[in-house]
């Protein structure tokens, strides 16, 4: 856009009663240079037909900060210019007529320290229902160091989690107990025992396993911990199962978490649907009680999946790192759920790096410092199996939990065999990678070789050999990598 002049009305004219365009009220400041301490949000704005894009973007700045629909004289009782969010840049979205990227800067004083709820009440509050917009999406945020430092961050972090589990140098392996509904506590614990003894590090409750008529939560916890301890003694390895403490009230969640701790569990789990404040409360509890905190992102696809409206998952991942969870589901690339490789790479970087440089081809719009906040372990879950091990390692790296639910429990020779197949495939692939082999291309051979001494792996490769999920992604980056001229 070539409108680089501020058109803000100044002086007493600014406060004449009546309606004034947002872009004239001080919410469009093309010459503003964001301060190092500003929170910056990048929105994808799709105005209604006939609405001036700059006005629409200024309105987003206004409605997510100080504005209301008309001029109010009480602004003059405040340092209003400081508190107004300022849209300072509007770019048309490449290959997407009618949509614009709006860069909006917010002064740090607008936000309560250490509160995701307060941040989100502004940034994704009323503004998402604003009538002059057809659609609005929060694509990314730059959270300044000064703000990051007001949060606890992950209760445990990747490094200490690995130290506690005594597991280094390879992805962790998990499985979600299936069927997700209907098993009794006794039957449920059987699955946990078999999977852990067979070679997995973790089992996991599903997001909707809480306390239902077929299995009340105390039964589940008791039988699961029998399974965990039996498997630990059988293998000499630390084992865990994510006990889901999600419940209707905080009091219930604390009670369940305390019981998990009393039984010696290394990890508990919560669902994203419990809400930001509840998540932060549980993160503080986890830090106080030496507990790893797993987050299942239940519900996120209702607002993360569509390109034009909602909140990108990369923003959710940033909020969750601040909020303090240790694990977060972040996509598999190759499995059954949404996620193209470049976008997923962006999510993983947000979880695991201490600094994220702007990388448009991964959908990362800002440099993001994490100021030594703990790292969050991404979890890959949904439709993955041993035959994809080389691809998983290539796309997702080493600091990740690979969760093979169906890919363990659905093994033709049983759960232990399924777990063993996954573990052998993983160890063989890590060994080959470290030896310097081209494991991405030689992956199938490496697996076939390992299967020569491991019947369960042979069976797994045979039964799932044709399974892949190749569908077009609904949310991919807007920017392609810049082509480098051939030399």
């Amino acid at each position: 856009m070539n409108m680089q002049q501020s058109i803000t009305v100044r002086g007493k004219d600014r406060y004449k009663s009546g309606v004034m365009e947002y872009k004239r009220m001080g919410y469009w400041e093309p010459n503003y240079e964001p301060k190092d301490t500003d929170v910056i949000a990048l929105f994808r704005v799709t105005p209604q037909d006939g609405v001036d894009p700059t006005e629409a973007c200024a309105a987003v700045a206004g409605e997510s900060s100080t504005a209301t629909w008309t001029v109010v004289w009480t602004d003059r009782l405040t340092a209003a210019e400081k508190y107004r969010a300022k849209c300072y840049r509007v770019d048309p979205v490449p290959n997407s007529p009618g949509s614009y990227f709006a860069y909006i800067a917010y002064d740090l004083d607008l936000f309560e320290p250490g509160s995701i709820s307060n941040l989100t009440a502004s940034i994704i509050g009323n503004v998402f229902g604003f009538k002059p917009l057809k659609a609005l999406r929060l694509e990314d945020m730059r959270l300044p160091t000064a703000y990051v430092k007001t949060f606890q961050g992950p209760a445990t972090g990747i490094v200490v989690e690995r130290e506690r589990l005594d597991k280094f140098g390879r992805p962790l392996l998990g499985a979600t107990v299936k069927p997700k509904l209907g098993l009794s506590g006794r039957n449920y614990g059987r699955v946990v025992y078999e999977a852990l003894k067979g070679g997995l590090d973790f089992c996991k409750d599903d997001e909707n396993i809480n306390s239902q008529p077929f299995m009340h939560w105390r039964d589940r916890f008791l039988y699961c911990m029998e399974g965990v301890n039996r498997a630990q003694a059988a293998t000499g390895e630390v084992k865990g199962t994510y006990l889901n403490v999600t419940a209707g009230t905080m009091e219930d969640m604390y009670e369940r978490a305390e019981f998990a701790k009393q039984l010696g569990s290394v990890i508990i789990m919560i669902d994203l649907v419990i809400g930001y404040t509840a998540i932060q409360s549980m993160a503080k509890w986890a830090r106080r009680n030496d507990m790893i905190l797993h987050l299942h992102r239940a519900g996120h696809s209702t607002y993360t999946r569509q390109r034009l409206h909602g909140v990108s998952f990369r923003v959710i991942a940033k909020w969750m790192r601040l909020a303090g969870v240790d694990h977060i589901h972040a996509g598999t690339v190759v499995g059954k759920l949404e996620g193209d490789p470049a976008t997923t790479r962006g999510y993983y970087d947000i979880c695991r790096e201490d600094f994220n440089p702007m990388t448009l081809e991964h959908g990362v719009f800002f440099d993001q410092p994490w100021a030594s906040l703990n790292k969050m372990m991404p979890v890959a879950s949904g439709g993955i199996h041993a035959g994809q091990m080389h691809q998983l390692l290539d796309h997702l790296g080493e600091d990740v939990v690979l969760q093979f639910g169906g890919g363990t429990i659905g093994h033709p020779k049983g759960i232990q065999a399924g777990a063993t197949a996954n573990r052998v495939a993983l160890e063989a692939m890590i060994l080959a990678r470290n030896e310097g082999r081209d494991y991405v291309h030689e992956g199938p051979e490496i697996l076939a070789k390992a299967a020569q001494t491991c019947t369960p792996l042979r069976d797994a490769l045979e039964v799932w050999k044709d399974v892949s999920f190749n569908y077009e992604s609904t949310d991919s980056p807007d920017f392609a990598p810049t082509a480098t001229p051939a030399t």
Binding site: G169, L222, V238, D354, N434, E435
Partner: protein, 141 residues
């Protein structure tokens, strides 16, 4: 039973050639290789005894393999593991760890259950080998 701690316990025992390749991987990453041994394989026994200091300055896999051979000569009846330590900011911990020697016979662990309040059980894992004093646990193998 087979203690499955470390990166490669589900694979057949690594040959010295395979171990050397993993050591080289650590060196290429700039990590310090450490050799440790123990006769207490409890999963929460963090501090295995160190075979000297981590080899911060040894950049040659062959030299490290010689240290491993020496360690095996003295403590060949025990568990020996190698690890790569990364001192870079934000990690400052172990990056990889794998067992390179184990007792011929691994008797495993007893799971003790103490019934406490309600239906709760208090669990303790105890290595059978720990019934004997340190240093004599796997000596007669």
């Amino acid at each position: 039973m087979r203690v499955t701690q470390g990166c490669y316990s589900f694979l057949p025992d690594l040959t010295d050639e395979q171990i050397a390749a993993q050591v080289q991987y650590c060196l290429d990453k700039g990590w310090a290789v450490n050799i440790e041994f123990t006769d207490d394989p409890h999963p929460r026994n963090t501090y295995w005894d160190m075979w000297g200091l981590p080899m911060f300055d040894l950049r040659d896999a062959a030299g490290i393999m010689k240290e491993l051979a020496d360690c095996r000569r003295v403590y060949g009846d025990r568990y020996i593991r190698m690890s790569g330590f990364d001192s870079s900011h934000g990690w400052e911990s172990v990056r990889i760890s794998f067992i390179v020697n184990r007792p011929k016979n691994e008797p495993g662990f007893r799971l003790e259950r103490q019934e406490v309040g309600g239906r709760s059980v208090s669990y303790t894992t105890r290595a059978y080998a720990l019934d004997r004093p340190e240093g004599e646990r796997y000596a007669d193998q």
